[in-house]
Amino acid sequence: MQIKVNGVQQTFNGDPEMPLLWYLRDELRLTGTKFGCGIALCGACTVHKNGEAIRSCVTAMRDMAGAEIMTIEGLGQNGLHPVQKAWMQVNVPQCGYCQPGQIMQAVALLNGKKKPTDQEIDEAMAGNICRCGTYQRIRAAIKTAAEGRV
């Protein structure tokens, strides 16, 4: 099976039931994508598949043929993405473990909505848990990026 990850073509021959998360982490060693819950409840594993945010922990490799995947490592490979810059500017992370997922989700949000409202931010980001409780800074960083203040 062919899959493109962060612009690089890869061949996968393993268990087709294996979720993308573990292929990224254990086989490609792209460990920026995190394991948090395993059942799509926390968003720590969020990556982009063909530009859409997905939960890689419940997305089996059998559904990945021909897919283009972007992880947090790919997002900033040509210099930090404006959303990453906004995250730094607002000092969002505490422990940081959920932040790759938060950032990938926020990038997907801003790709679809240039100036999201609080309500739209809630709807888009409610699937991503931050146990440290950085939500108010996540919201501020999304607005910072949306307004081009980076």
Binding site: T33, G76, P93, R131, Y135
Partner: protein, 758 residues
């Protein structure tokens, strides 16, 4: 290796210890440990100028500072090195941080109890000042001038009369030949000349935390490693009777299974036992585990049922118990009558649910263990691994990765011991990965607690008598199977130190036996104690017809120092001379937050209300006002939180604010939905589906943090925001709805609270 072994390091450390001993309680300060032959494990160790364990300076001017505390999001890996850098007058851009392995030479490394800055503030200042002293001496020698004519500016020594300058890198080699100064020779910088202390810096890991390159325990890797997932006994203290792994071994990628012995009580930090599935990747290990067929012997805790246990705790709380603080004549005052108020409060078991589940990588080679772990306590890793494997503590090298959250759970290294045991059995590196379900079901839970409160109000509405009694299975039960009473270290947490100015006051604690592993969770016993005390205060205010803020200030009374003469009050390990319990500081944050929050002045809509609470924990005084809105469906929104904080000297204000913002979210989770229940000894919850934590749409929309400009010595900031938030939140719900919250979680009290707010 170009290290110049300055023999006088020893005398430095002696100096450090002797001064440290005046300031710090015994368990915290670095011990004298320059035993020869220790691995040279930090860049600081190897640097040209290396006057103590925390600092190294190379000839290129790079300053290495050792972070010996664990980074789990509190910014300690930045803030404590910042103190060293300040006293060194170092350019922060030329500083590199070394993360220490577990090693007693650093003193205490258990990053817990919100005491990293407090316990190591003086030590790290001295560490930086020592290097600066030696650099000045070296420059003065080179210039043949008196050291008193020399000062430091950013990363340079300057000869004031002539303006000559020498960089730290240029001076490192000559400074390294000088004797390390004695403690009394050091001159610490004055407050006015601080570069970083009180101003702060962003996390040194900030970019890596945003680009996916930060390395957590989950991301640790060794060549040739395999992966393990462990099926633990579903009931604590249970064991494997028999198991069949035929189907498990058929799973692609599964290599073998290994049975792990149960612990011998008390559990402490021993592995729980069970069956490990070893595989080529994490997924295969998880899948293999599902195919195991295990027959368990559940052991004596199989009879434990949390609903029944709750009734027993509440019964105990209604009966006279052990007196842990008493003043005046409480029984006499109650006998006089007046308006007597009673209330009972209850908080269930709580899980930590850090975003990164427990995980550890370990290798056993040549009789030594090398572990990579997200641990809050690498020395405890050394202890438990050496015990489990029967090797010397020094033969356990514990590298500390970043932690994907900790909240107290990762101070208990049972999961690292599992990895070490399996590594020894397998003869190759192994990474043990817990699932979220493992994390929720095999936690060291914050204790379930029942509180009984009683007060007699005088004609002015103020209490003449006050009785409070708490019952909870103690944390000490993980170390002592017979422990049933709270130890002073946990009774101090918002209980024996109830700060109210009441003539007749008694504090009691009743017995409770633990049937799960009890542990400390962000603010620990303060969670349930502050909930009871600060909610009861609010109840009395309403009963007396007083404004809750005014009533709370009346209860706190005039500024005074609480007298603990007949109370076993450890004061979080700090001396009462240096850190007295000052009610004036609690008053001040209460008045401050009320003013900032517009208490009594804001117009609130239908279904909205404000609640207030004030609490001291970890030596920090915090008052919080929470605004809630509750709609007709019982759904709760938290539009605004205001928190005033007196944490003494604050090294890093921005990171400190973030800690209190986060505490409001953590408190929201605890109060609204946090609940672990147990049936037949097994935990009922499993994941974020049935142990929900606050999401962005449920968290406070805006938390404003006000830091008091304080001249008091530094205190904790990681935990103290949680307790007053919870009580203020519940008091706000009462103000908004008339519904009094006496039991957590709120979701069981208000039907809509279990739903996402919005």
């Amino acid at each position: 290796m170009n290290a110049i072994e300055n023999v006088s390091r020893r005398s430095f450390l002696k100096g450090l210890v002797s001064v440290g001993a005046l300031v710090l309680s015994a368990r915290y300060y670095p011990e004298l440990v320059w035993a020869e032959g220790l691995p040279k494990d930090t860049h600081a160790d190897l640097a040209t100028l290396h006057p103590n364990v925390f600092v190294g300076i190379d000839t290129d001017g790079t300053v290495y500072i050792v972070a010996h505390r664990s980074e789990m999001g509190t910014g300690i890996r930045t803030s404590l090195p910042l103190v060293v850098a300040d006293e060194l007058d170092a350019d922060w851009k030329k500083v590199k941080i070394d993360q220490a392995i577990g090693d007693p030479r650093y003193g205490d490394q258990n990053t817990d109890g919100s005491h990293s800055i407090r316990s190591f503030y003086d030590v790290t200042r001295q560490a930086g000042a020592t290097a600066r002293f030696m650099l000045i001496q070296a420059a003065a020698q080179q210039w043949k001038v008196a050291p008193g004519e020399c000062v430091t500016e950013l990363h340079v020594v300057v000869h004031r009369p002539t303006g000559r300058r020498l960089g730290y890198g240029e001076l490192a080699a000559s400074a390294a030949k000088l004797p390390v100064p004695r403690q009394e020779q050091l001159q610490l910088k004055s407050k006015g000349s601080w570069r970083y202390i009180g101003k702060g810096m962003p996390s040194i890991d900030l970019e890596q935390l945003c680009n996916g390159k930060a390395v957590y325990g989950m991301d640790a890797h060794m060549d040739g490693m395999v992966y393990a997932s462990i099926e633990h006994p579903p009931v604590i203290g249970g064991k494997v009777k028999s198991y069949d792994d035929k189907e498990a071994l058929k799973v692609t990628g599964v290599r073998q299974t290994i049975s792990i012995d149960p612990f011998k009580p008390p559990p402490a930090f021993q592995p729980l036992g069970g069956v490990a599935v070893i595989a080529d990747n994490t997924w295969a290990a998880f899948q293999g585990r599902k195919k195991l067929n295990i027959v368990w012997d559940n052991g004596p805790n199989e009879t434990y049922d949390s609903a029944q246990y709750k009734k027993e705790l509440q019964e105990t709380a209604r009966k006279p118990a052990k007196v842990v603080r008493s003043q005046g004549d409480v029984d006499g005052a109650f006998a006089k009558g007046g308006k007597v108020m009673e209330a009972e409060y209850y908080v269930p078991l709580l899980a930590h649910a850090s975003m990164e589940p427990m995980v550890a990588l370990a290798e056993f080679r040549d009789g030594k263990v090398t572990a990579w772990a997200p641990t809050q306590n690498p020395q405890a890793v050394q202890d438990i691994v050496s015990t489990e494997l029967g090797i010397a503590k020094e033969d356990v090298i514990c590298h500390v990765t970043l932690l994907g959250g900790g909240f107290g759970r990762k101070s208990k290294p049972d999961y690292v011991a599992e990895a070490a045991l399996l590594a020894k059995k397998l003869g190759r590196p192994v990474k043990v990965v817990w699932t979220r379900e493992d994390d929720i079901k095999f936690d060291y839970y914050n204790a379930v607690a029942a509180m009984y409160m009683r007060a007699a109000l005088g004609a002015d509405g103020k209490p003449l008598a006050w009785l409070q009694r708490s019952v909870f299975p103690p944390i000490t039960s993980i170390f002592d199977v017979n422990a049933v009473y709270g130890d002073p270290g946990h009774l101090q947490q918002g209980w024996t130190d109830v700060p109210f100015d009441i003539p007749n006051l008694r504090v009691e604690n009743g017995p409770a036996k633990a049937h799960v592993r009890i542990g400390w969770l962000r603010s620990v016993a303060n969670i349930y104690h502050a909930f009871a005390v600060q909610t009861f205060a609010d109840e009395l205010a309403h009963a007396a017809g007083h404004d809750p803020l005014e009533y709370l200030l009346d209860l706190i009374g005039k500024p005074r120092t609480i007298d603990f003469k007949n109370v076993d009050y450890p004061n979080y390990g700090a001396s009462l001379q240096t850190y007295p319990w000052e009610t004036g500081r609690l008053r001040r944050v209460t008045e401050m937050v009320a003013e900032k929050a517009g208490w009594g002045k804001r117009k609130l809509g239908k279904g909205a209300g404000l609640g207030i609470a004030a609490h001291r924990s970890f030596l920090t005084y915090v008052a919080t006002v929470v605004e809630v809105e509750v709609n007709d469906q019982g759904e709760i929104r938290i539009p605004r939180v205001d928190t005033a904080v007196d944490a003494g000297l604050v090294v890093n204000p921005e990171i400190t604010r973030a800690q209190f913002e986060g505490a409001a979210v953590f408190g929201t989770s605890v109060a609204k939905t946090g609940e672990i229940t147990v049936t037949k000894g097994a935990i009922n919850q499993s994941n974020f589906s049935d142990y929900p934590v606050a999401r962005i749409n449920e968290a406070p929309l805006q938390t404003n943090v006000y830091i008091v400009d304080s001249s008091a010595p530094p205190a904790g900031v990681g935990e103290p925001g949680v307790p007053p938030f919870i009580a203020a939140f519940c008091n706000a719900i009462f103000a908004a709805t008339g519904k009094r919250i006496r039991e957590l979680p709120i979701k069981n009290q208000l039907s809509g609270a279990s739903l996402a707010g919005g």
